[in-house]
Amino acid sequence: MTTPTIKRFAVTLTFGLILVAGLISRPKPSSPAPAAPADRLQINAAGATFPYPIYSKWFDEYHKLHPNLEINYQSIGSGGGIRQLLAGTVDFGASDMPLKDDQLSPFKVKPLHFPTVLGAVVPTYNVPGLSADLKFTQKALAGIYLGKITKWNDPAIARTNPGVKLPGDDIVVVHRSEGSGTTYIWTDFLSKADPDWEAKVGRNASVNWPVGLGGKGNEGVSGSVEQTPDSIGYVELIYAIQNHMRYGLVQNAAGVFLKADLAGVTAAAAAAAKSMPDDFRVSITNAPGKTAYPISSFTYLLIPQSFSDATKRDAIIGFLRWMLKDGQQYTEALSYAPLPKEVVAKEMKAISLIK
């Protein structure tokens, strides 16, 4: 026979827990549109931070059109997306860097690459008191990231920026701390720019950086640069724009100094568009042409070739089709370039490869 106190306590506790558990587990209507939770489908994806602004816009818009479908995208970096896809902990991934053959081999179900948008990587910096945007040669950027150029008023930088007063402060280099497709694009460009870089560091999602601090995600790098004077980092264009940060002009293969914009990125893709390989894996950094911005890239969704769950497969295919047609209209507002028409057509055909 238990005492009244214990009885009361046990009863209250049980009721309380049941009440709370019931309140919490019931699916809530998501805002703004009330959802019919009956066949609610949640798809998990993870990967690149480079396109995260446009992806979060897309998944939000698509959810408004299809309230039962929620695509939960976690922006953890291209390396993370690839790893999670391999481990099977997400339904599809995203990467700025096309997977090499040896990266594809561990996959039991090979992922297909679907380019989504074109973006630019810009050198963003936080140097107080500048009168104009800085112009960087390719070798200057490589030298800064190799640790050979250590001060802002180094001749390699001053030479291309006559009339701009550069401080004699140390350059604080910021790079990505985790495996990143943006890093791949940046190091791919630096490898083409400077054979010294290619030999010492190379191109990859995660490299042995000679100098610098690590920031997490495009968000972390732009946050670090924003908060640290005399710093320089590389981020996707929209991160610099949204944060009102200065970003510099980069000299392209034809010798012209260009500030990243949609026209420059589209020009860089033009040559690739005509000769796009069937699996869409291509690098467009340092593209030829006077108007081509040299640090441009496609970014990809990695969709498994076959799905065991037909509902998920159909939902993802539906999203892909929407993305290729209607989704492209949202790109320019967020400073990404839309895909060239030829690429879109090719992708539409490739969708039929998903089983």
């Binding site: 238990t2 005492t3 009244p4 106190t5 214990i6 827990l17 709370v20 558990a21 919490i24 587990s25 699916p27 809530k28 998501s30 805002s31 939770p37 609610r40 949640q42 998990n44 995260y52 602004p53 979060s56 816009k57 998944f59 939000d60 959810h63 929620e70 939960n72 995208y73 976690q74 481990a87 099977g88 902990t89 997400v90 920031g215 997490k216 995600g217 968000e219 972390g220 732009s222 946050g223 924003e226 929209i238 991160y239 949204q242 944060n243 940060m245 967020l334």
Partner: protein
């Protein structure tokens, strides 16, 4: 007065002034943190914050409703798993246990207590997330539950042992069996302390971020049930704080304040409970 005495008196004054300075420094830094959080967090809290889901990057007006509920869910399941384990384990250690086995249990409980939360996260990742092939609230709760158990077990044992022997002997003398004595006399007598221990443990794991990053992951929508990745306050604070968006920074402050308020309420509440005294809970 000899030189030596003058020296000793000066040392007295100087050293105590230094300790006073240390106190001032410590107190002011800590008060500053509280104040800063209350100030910035308070000004960022609005209705949207509590009711809306996150909006696309760069757009304002979003909120953290899913993260707040997510934290609640994670804590609930962690408590359901961890509290009974710790409670019953603590009862064992205090009442039934003898010898090397108890020593082992106590030692591993202390050890687990000191294990960094990130290692708990790895554990839950390899044991739950990988076999299940996705992150989930279940995995996150498990990681938190494993952190709860050592705290609850030790504090339960401590408060059970603090119950006066006379109560124990009285019950036994009246013919109660051991388990009845424990269940109906000792546990209620030590209940205040035990409840305090449980509440403090909950407050401690409520703020843990590292174990949740790769177990519960994150979710921009509502997570239904326990089998999906789920948003939680600490993880969202971490992601937003590192971003370059001012709106996200504001939300991170607000979330920090909410988390802090929860922790403070629980901690203060448990102290009040405890300080009300070890009166017998055998109310009529």
């Amino acid at each position: 007065m000899s030189f030596r005495n003058v020296w000793r008196k000066s040392v007295n004054i100087v050293m105590f002034s230094l300790t006073g300075l240390a106190t001032l420094l410590t107190i002011s830094v800590l008060f500053f943190i509280l104040g800063y959080l209350v100030w910035y967090g308070g000004s960022s809290i609005n209705w949207n914050f509590f009711t809306k889901l996150p909006t696309p990057v760069g757009e304002s007006g979003g909120g953290m409703a899913n993260a707040i509920v997510g934290s609640g869910k994670l804590l609930l399941l962690a408590a359901l798993i961890g509290v009974p384990t710790g409670l019953l384990g603590g009862i064992y250690l205090a009442e039934f246990g003898r010898g090397t086995f108890s020593y082992l249990v106590r030692y591993t409980a202390d050890l687990l207590n000191g294990v960094p939360s990130i290692v708990m996260g790895i554990f839950a990742y390899t044991v739950v997330v990988l076999p299940m092939h996705h992150g989930s609230a279940l995995a996150g709760s498990l990681a938190l539950a494993v952190m709860l158990v050592p705290i609850v077990i030790r504090s339960t044992e401590q408060f059970m042992r603090a119950v006066p022997v006379s109560l124990r002997e009285g019950a036994l003398a009246l013919g109660a069996s051991k388990w009845r004595t424990v269940a109906t006399v000792i546990v209620p007598a030590g209940f205040r302390g035990i409840a305090t221990g449980i509440l403090l443990a909950l407050a401690r794991v409520a703020g843990e971020t590292a174990p949740l990053i790769f177990t519960a992951g994150g979710n921009n929508f509502w997570a239904e049930g326990w089998n999906q990745p789920i948003a939680s306050l600490p993880v969202v604070i971490y992601n937003y704080a590192l971003s370059p968006y001012q709106d996200w920074h504001r939300q991170a402050w607000a979330a920090g304040l909410v988390l802090l308020a929860f922790v403070l309420i629980v901690t203060t509440g448990s102290r009040i409970i405890l300080s009300l005294g070890f009166q017998s809970s055998r109310s009529g």
